[in-house]
Amino acid sequence: MKKFLLFSVCLFTGLALGAAQLPDNMYFRAMKDEMDRSLAKLRVKGSPKPYYVAYQLTEGHAYCASASLGALHTDSQMPATDSLSALAVVATGTPQNDSMGFKDASSEYAPVHAYSVPKSYWGIRHQLWDITNEGFNAASEVYEKKQTYKRQKHITEERTDFARAPQASFVEPIVPFPAAPTEQMEEWVKTLSAQGKEVPYMEDFSVRICLQQQDLYYLNSDGGHYQYTLPASWVQVQAKFRNQQGYEETLTDRQPLPADFTLDPAALQEQTRRVLRRAEQIFTAKKGEPYLGPVLLMPQPAAVFIKQHLVKNVSNLTPLLPDPDVTAGSLRNKTDLRVMSNSVEVYDKPQLRQYKGLPLAGFAPVDDEGVLAQDLTLVASGKFKQLPQSRRSNGKGQKSNGHARMSFFTLPREALTNVFVKAKNPLSQEALEEKLLQRCRELELDYCYVVWDVSSGLTDVNLAERLYTKDGRREAVFGMKTDELGPRALRDILAAGQEEAVVPTRDVGWRNISLITPALLVDEVELIPTEKQPDRKPFVSKP
């Protein structure tokens, strides 16, 4: 915990509460000027006027190099690209009763957006003008629909739609996107991907290194604002091959790169070797058979498990009208109830920028409603302690804790940021496996499973290992999927490991988050074979 506190203190240098001065640059001048004009003049007779506007500008930078089987792909010859996009949130009515929080079948609950925004003061203003107008028209329509719905359903309770909250700012100079070490990157992707050439059954083996950065600029009409840089670089190694039983398999391993863009050759080599090792295991693996019992999820699969069963169900907690809102997190009413095993605790750390040298994708010091983001103890002693809240969290005693987040696909709603799953008593890998075997013996099972590699939804298990209870023998298995795991599985966590994976990903609203998870031993998981059939042997042999 000390580590977290130290980082948080460092970060507060750029944070301010109250009406801080806006950065003096083209982006903020354009946002401020267009926002002022829109709030002052955007009117339609008979419709409520806009009372709240927020803009986010994102300038993305990228340079990638990739190669297959030792030969470069064309993206390596592309100069670094940069692009500017814009989001607008427009609310009409009053904070007590506004146009937000309602979504019918004909509309999306998403901000209006624009890509390829011209990089000039007038170019930015022009696009903001365009999307504000569209946002205002949409808000006017939704406002009327929402009022009609409330009248039809006799919704008369006085709950403020959009609560006041102290506005904060976080401003730091934008870090220029560094000149990419193009030659070095090309050499590495060529060398690393060439290792696939030595594997007779490998049909494609590619390595892609992408240096990426997002410069974020945000301003709302209550004064909340932020400006900072979010690094998001990664390395991906991918293997495509047909295993001995004729199944086409694809293994993908993506790892984040340090915030300062440093590339560690040893880490790249280890990642490449790991994929080759796993490919070799899958090549000779057996197809799985139905199984119900304890499973040890290694850190990457554990991150997917946490995303699917915890993060998803504690996001978007304030339901949208009309009822029922299927997008609202299903665990929203479980405060102080036992939702998870007490062998782990879960924290959310929006102020944390890096962990173990890796940038955290969920870094969001001020949320997308201008509120200072607070760290949360999400789960302790198996119970929910603090849930993410926004200015629209209007339940009894609720107020924003700075966790309203938006993306191209959702207006600001309650969301997590950097999710840490911490074992109360972390176990070594050996101890975890021993505990797994012990539990299997108790259940009189011949073997149990360690899951090493899954596809993003946890539905497809690309590589698992059987651990035989009798002699501890290991046997690789492929072609499995999990069956009907629900949030209840969170209560089945028996133990957690020491080693952690840092996994940048997107949540259900396509918002950037990071998951920091150890291996998790889950007491009951059902694994069943996939229906996939073996693929035809190639007509012609590999060249």
């Binding site: 083209m26 001048r29 000027d33 267009e34 004009r37 829109s38 003049k41 955007l42 009117r43 339609v44 190669a67 297959s68 089987l69 030792g70 030969a71 470069l72 792909h73 064309t74 993206d75 010859q77 592309m78 100069p79 690209t81 692009s83 390829s116 925004v117 011209p118 990089k119 000039s120 003061y121 007038w122 170019g123 930015i124 203003r125 022009h126 903001l128 003008w129 365009d130 107008n133 205002f136 028209n137 050439k197 049909e203 494609d204 035809r536 190639p538 007509f539 012609v540 590999k542 060249p543």
Partner: protein
């Protein structure tokens, strides 16, 4: 009246492709060597499968696309994107019936996978492995599609034209390279920036874009017949688009494209800025212009508008595959040897023309996307239909390709246009044509006629499910009154049916001009050109353009609301 001799066309056509300078030896081209080697290795085995892959071809494009777009003084996007793309064409079954046959019982999907290829360096192992993977995948897909065709043939009604699905293209070997296109991009960026700032302060301009795009590289083609081709890919375009919207929801656009291959062919800064200013003025005029009323009246189709008209209304209907597929209306299928347009018109599609009057033609190509050498095809001679545009899918009476099998990279080729030329046997100066229009208006007792100055495009209905009609969208139309006064009108669409409309051509001017564009159809987007003179139509039907239900933005554009202050 001037009489244009038919022979002139052949002379111009024959002189155009003077490209001997860049000729190269196909056998020495590394990509062709590797493509051919892998094709032969695969084809040897694939042709013995059940069903056999009886024809195999690789199209490989190695090139770079780049460009910059500006608006309101800022860069909207700027990109340089190298591409190494591969398309595998595998035909399963036999030429009589193969996997490409359009299903009678279902909608066909013309798209095909395109693979991004690794660099062709060293021993080329990665390149060859990628080729092998793509070939396997294409062969499996072709066999699966063939089984669907077989099933369809059992349950569907008899085809009106039971021609084969494929005719083997002749073997060709050709190699030509082109020096890289060279443009002063810095100057162009400055010019675009300056031009993009001209729209500021204009409340009737709601959107604008100013761009320069460039695409260049080489296209390699090898097939199981033995064809080996390398041809250049080269397109460059300077363009701008302005958009407005009237209070009643009508969208208005003005713009200009300059298709060039050399810096010297570009307009000067002054010319470009003047063209932008002219379009701004036109858009302002249009935004205040009265709305057109539906009516039929004599009209002049200005040269470039006529070029688009011919492309849309006649060109698409003489594409070979439309005569064979029973889902099409087949307006011209049985009209060979019969008059279909006014006798003063001859229409030729000539992809071998690289330039016309100093303007590069986007529809120029030496070999089509099925590896067949391009050639001029006389579609209509003195008003009489003679030919169809043919790909390698034969139709009744037209058993072979005439080099018009074209496609975007991710699509199967079908018969498409290249450079469609309208040649009038008798022409008059344009001023005379306007005099003739006024006389025709008076003769018919009409209150006014029309001059269709510019046409952005439109659509033509060729399927049997709808009427065989067209609707074209002029972007600049004038009413011309019997006293010669002209008045811009907005919201006028041209409608009609092809057989009637082309017979209404009374006269043509001698002001041939080029329309360069991109044409979208089943086989994707392909670059095309059309060349035509202005023509006088005895009657043209105008109807109101559909309007958007959304109103223009409530506030004026920011730069029109207030300029000045710190930016």
């Amino acid at each position: 009246m001037k009489h244009v001799f038919w022979a002139i066309f052949w002379l111009v056509g024959g002189l155009a492709p003077a490209y001997a300078d860049g000729l190269c030896d196909a056998a020495q081209q590394r990509p062709l060597q590797l493509l051919a080697q892998e094709l032969n290795r695969n084809f040897k085995i694939l042709k013995k499968q059940k069903p056999p892959i009886y024809y195999l071809a690789y199209t490989y494009v190695e090139g770079t696309g780049s460009g910059v777009e500006m608006a309101e003084g800022g860069i909207a996007w700027k990109l340089t994107q190298p591409q190494h793309l591969l398309k595998v064409t595998a035909r399963a079954g036999s030429p009589q019936m193969d996997n490409t046959r359009v299903l009678k019982s279902n909608q066909d999907d013309w798209s095909v996978p395109v693979e991004e290829m690794p660099a062709l360096d060293g021993e080329g192992k990665a390149f060859r492995t990628a080729l092998w993977r793509a070939t396997q995948s294409a062969a499996e897909q072709a066999q699966a599609d063939y089984s669907r065709v077989l099933a369809d043939s059992l349950i569907s009604s008899k085809r009106a034209d039971n021609s084969d699905d494929f005719v083997f293209p002749p073997k060709s070997v050709y190699c030509r390279t082109q020096a890289p296109l060279s443009f002063d991009k810095e100057r162009l960026e400055k010019l675009l920036k300056k031009a993009s700032e001209l729209v500021q302060g204009k409340d009737f301009i709601l959107d604008s874009s100013f761009s320069f795009t460039l695409q260049e590289g080489s296209r390699y083609f090898v097939d199981s017949v033995g064809t080996r081709l390398r041809t250049p890919v080269a397109y460059a375009r300077l363009s701008f688009q302005l958009q407005g919207q009237t209070e009643d929801g009508l969208y208005l656009t003005r713009g200009e494209n300059y298709d060039v291959l050399q810096e010297s062919e570009l307009p000067t800064d002054e010319e470009f800025l003047a063209a932008v200013q002219n379009s701004i003025n036109q858009l302002q005029t249009l935004s205040q212009a009265p709305e057109a009323d539906p009516m039929t009246a004599p009209a002049i189709l200005k040269n470039r508008a006529m070029a688009v008209f011919v492309h849309e209304v006649l060109g698409h209907r003489v594409e070979g595959h439309r005569q064979k597929d029973d889902s099409f209306g087949k307006t011209f299928t049985d009209k060979v040897g019969k008059p279909v347009v006014a006798p003063i018109l001859t229409i030729v599609d000539d992809p071998t023309l690289a330039y016309f009057n100093g303007v590069p033609l986007r529809g120029f190509y030496e070999y089509d996307d099925e590896g067949v050498q391009s050639r001029p095809v006389v579609l209509v001679k003195d008003g009489v239909l003679e030919n169809f545009l043919m790909s390698s899918s034969p139709i009744h009476g037209f058993p072979a390709s005439n080099g018009h099998g074209r496609s975007q990279m991710a699509y199967r080729a079908v018969a498409r246009m290249g450079n469609t030329r309208v040649i009038a046997s008798e022409t008059v100066p344009y001023e005379k044509l306007e005099e003739m229009l006024l006389a025709e208006i008076k003769r018919q007792g009409k209150p006014y006629g029309f001059i269709i100055e510019d046409l952005s495009g439109g659509f033509t209905q060729t399927s049997t499910y709808g009427p065989q009609a067209f609707k074209l969208e002029p972007t600049l139309v004038y009413r011309i009154y019997p006293d010669g006064r002209k008045e811009a009108v907005r919201g006028a669409d041209m409608v009609g049916t092809p057989l009637v409309s082309f017979n209404k051509v009374l006269a043509a001017a001698d002001d041939y001009a080029v329309f360069n564009g991109s044409c979208g159809a089943e086989s994707g987007w392909v670059p095309v050109s059309a060349i035509a003179p202005s023509v006088l139509l005895e009657a043209l039907e105008i109807e109101k353009t559909g309007k958007s239900s959304s109103k223009p933005p409530l506030l004026p554009p920011p730069s029109a609301a207030k300029k000045g202050g710190k930016k």
